[in-house]
């Protein structure tokens, strides 16, 4: 699929006539980081070592954060680093450890419908890349002129001027998710009823709660 990425990227470069053969430095950097991100993502979904999949996911999410920086969305890049690379991947590793994931290579990491999944993914990629390249062949992003668009100043201003109500609703949703995670972890505690399980469930609940606080 990285061959597809190369082909698609070169097709995208060919189709844009003004910058072809003289891409800007930002474009070259975006392309290189994009290839790294895509390779890490493909490794994360195909590797047979489960913990390595989580670690490759760190590379992919960090690459996406760099792409946000290159697109001048500075605040979102740091939020991505904080929440995804910081909280979500740690939570995923926590879950992998708690479900006793095998450390070495596990031969049954992929299910039986892998060829079907590959066919579906390749077909969707081909169709979407064709449509997207054809649709945005002559479209350019102006990154140089004008005011900066994604600094913390701008993002905070629009977030608390125009998006206050969704923001507050979202904090209620986070609270509900946090309470839900605690309830999910504690219900099975009451069902089993033994003291040892109570200890284990307390650990899980506090871990989820700590992660929820980090997300907030």
């Amino acid at each position: 699929m990285s061959a597809t990425a190369n082909l698609a990227a070169s097709a995208a470069a060919v189709s844009g006539t003004p910058g072809f053969l003289s891409p800007t430095g930002v474009e070259i950097l975006f392309l290189l980081v994009g290839l790294l991100t895509l390779g890490a993502a493909i490794t994360a979904v195909t590797t047979r070592q489960l913990v390595h999949a989580a670690l490759w996911l760190v590379v992919a999410l960090g690459g996406i954060a760099v792409e946000y920086l290159l697109l001048s969305a500075e605040f979102i890049a740091w939020v991505q680093v904080l929440i995804y690379v910081g909280a979500v991947v740690v939570l995923l590793l926590f879950g992998l450890m708690l479900t006793r994931a095998p450390i070495g290579r596990s031969p049954d990491a992929d299910s039986g419908n892998r060829p079907v999944a590959l066919a579906v993914a390749v077909t969707a990629a081909a169709v979407l890349v064709t449509v997207v390249v054809d649709a945005f062949r002559t479209t350019w992003i102006d990154l140089e002129d004008g005011a900066p668009q994604g600094t913390t100043d701008v993002t905070g201003r629009i977030l608390f001027q125009h998006w206050v109500l969704p923001f507050e609703a979202l904090s209620v949703l986070l609270l509900a998710a946090l309470v839900g995670a605690i309830v999910l972890s504690r219900r099975e505690n009451g069902r089993n009823g033994t003291g040892g399980d109570g200890d284990g469930d307390g650990g899980t609940g506090s871990g989820t709660r700590a992660a929820g606080g980090g997300e907030r």
Binding site: A5, A9, A12, A13, V26, E27, F30, L31, G34, T37, L38, A41, I42, A44, V45, A53, A54, L57, A60, L61, I64, L71, S72, A73, I76, Y84, A87, G95, L96, L98, T99, R100, A101, D110, G112, A117, L118, V120, A124, A125, L128, V132, V133, F136, T139, W140, Q149, G150, T155, L159, W163, L170, L173, L174, A177, L178, A181, S185, D199, G203
Partner: protein, 145 residues
Amino acid sequence: MHLAYPAVLAVLLFCTGLYGVLARRNAILVLMSVELMLNAVNLNLVAFDVWLRDTLHAGQALTLFTITIAAAEIGIGLAIVLLVHRNRGTSHIDRLRDLAETDRTATDSDEATVADATDNPVGSPAGDPAGRPTDTRLTRGEATA
């Protein structure tokens, strides 16, 4: 910058996540693939927001909201996966087939249903009764550590 660069990258990341969701067997790896798909959507939102120069910056605000919702989703999803693993002793989504018995009951006789009913609470027939105490002991050790 050409808009096709971030758009094509988002498409390819989304299809990578799609493959992972369809092909992975461990539930936590499926959650990882869902995160990849959500990140592809976020990249698209940011790219189009920067391209359109929206005065409300709806793309960046929606990206922040998507990141928050993804974090809430991964918390709830992991709690569910851990609960399933405690109850069934497995986190392989191929083995959680309680709701997929329609063709078997239609073709087989009643004894297949009885065998199913006795088989299902165990989850994986071999090694699960040994697996569950090990799991709780391991969890307790981590909680105290």
